[in-house]
């Protein structure tokens, strides 16, 4: 098993499954890696505060890759090409400190993942045409998508959370998906994620952070655990969203139409009583729902082929 077992290039860096499959069937969907380098919290519960720390988590998780620092250390020391690549990247041969090698490997994995930037979309062409005042170019963006954008930014208020160029504010919300993963067992989401974050030796407050200024740890230093974190999950970005279903943190909705229907008909009783009233049944008409889906689809395109990776060492 490798990272690419679940994060497959040909499946938009996910796996096309409703729920991930590691050493066992998992309770959450495999998130796409598009634009992951721009995030500030990682994983559905934000238990990682850096891309490299997040890259360590599945390696160690007995339910996912069920590996360990010793395994990574052996691999880096024993594989000729990896050992050579390590020396090129870090300026020394792989040593005997397996935990340090695990961190270094994760930082290299993070450097690769940060290159996974989603391509331009029809929506970007439309936005740029508006900014340039090019009405001809803007008119190429279909009317259904334009109406869907109005619903997204207007009455549906999607952009309170799906904000900015990646269509996410990078934070967390409870959007009315059931907490129970099986009878008697819940996924606490951000609540448990914060516990794991602050307990991790790999968080940005720890000794493995290369940033001596402490600036990169600002969010971790100030994050505020709250009761309302229970059942909150990270707001996913929407770029390439039409290509990476199923949807929601638990893969419980199979299509974008089902997602829009969920927000149109969400049961307020499923939301935190002390939570944000942002999520409410939108009561969209069939036309509005179809337009919103058309807009969401316009955030996705076939990605250009990637150049083959060069060998680490020749």
């Amino acid at each position: 098993m490798s990272c690419a077992t679940c994060h497959q290039a040909g499946r938009d860096w996910s796996d096309g499954r409703a729920r991930g499959m590691g050493a066992v069937q998992l309770d959450r969907r495999t998130p796409s890696l598009w634009n992951v380098g721009y995030a500030h919290w990682f994983g559905w519960d934000g238990a990682g505060d850096s891309l490299w720390a997040q890259s360590i988590r599945p390696i160690l998780d007995p339910q996912e890759m069920a590996g360990g620092a010793e395994l990574v250390g052996r691999l880096l020391r024993g594989d000729k090409e990896l050992a050579c690549g390590y020396e090129r990247a870090f300026g020394a041969k792989p040593g005997t400190d397996d935990q340090q090698l695990l961190v270094d490997a994760a930082k290299a994995l993070a450097a690769f993942q940060a290159t996974l930037v989603s391509p331009r979309t029809p929506f970007d062409e439309f936005r740029d045409a508006l900014v340039a005042g090019d009405r001809v170019a803007a008119s190429r963006y279909p009317l259904a998508e334009q109406r869907g954008l109005k619903v997204f930014s207007g009455s549906a208020n999607c952009e309170s959370c799906h904000y900015g160029p990646r269509f996410t504010n990078g934070e967390f919300g409870d959007v009315g998906i059931a907490f129970f993963v099986r009878p008697g067992e819940v996924d606490s989401g951000r609540f448990g994620g914060l516990v794991r974050l602050l307990d991790s030796p790999f968080n940005l407050l720890g000794s493995y952070n290369d940033d001596a200024s402490g600036a990169s740890a600002q969010r971790t230093r100030h994050v505020r655990p709250q009761h309302s974190n229970f059942g909150e999950f990270r707001v996913p970005g929407l770029r390439q969203v039409a290509r990476s279903g199923a949807y929601m943190h638990d893969g419980s909705l199979a299509t974008l139409d089902a997602v829009v229907r969920h927000y149109s008909e969400v049961n307020p009783d499923r939301l935190h009583s002390d939570g944000t009233p942002l999520v409410r049944p939108l009561g969209l008409s069939p036309q509005q729902g179809a337009d919103l889906v058309a807009f969401l689809r316009s955030l996705s395109v076939e990605p250009p082929p990637r150049s083959p990776l060069s060998p680490l060492c020749r």
Binding site: S160, G170, F172, V223, R224, S228
Partner: protein, 133 residues
Amino acid sequence: MKILAALFPILLATTARANCPLDLGHGTGWVIYSSHYLVAFRPEPMRIEVGQPFSLLLNVCTKSNSPAELVAVDAQMPDHRHGMNYRPSIVAGTDGRYRAEGLVFHMPGRWELSIDVRAGEETERLSHDIILK
């Protein structure tokens, strides 16, 4: 993103005491006041962006010129009934100013900034609305 209103020019500079200047530099910022307090503050960086950490540089003054201190800074979105996901920390500078670090406004809309100040036994909360688009 842009703050809806440009940072206001300091309105009450004429009331500032010499040992409690309300001008925090750069010629911009906000001054809010009650019957007892004057609080001058400005963000760093100057432009608050949705989802991006920022700090506030503050000076807390009393109209009677008695010593005053900053107790806490927080913010809420009253329309959404939630606060920030982060708890700011306060650092007192050697120049009498304060720095509140670690604020993040994670959504566009109206944020109500609350600033708790104290002089002696008396604590008071001053508030100010900031609208992010």
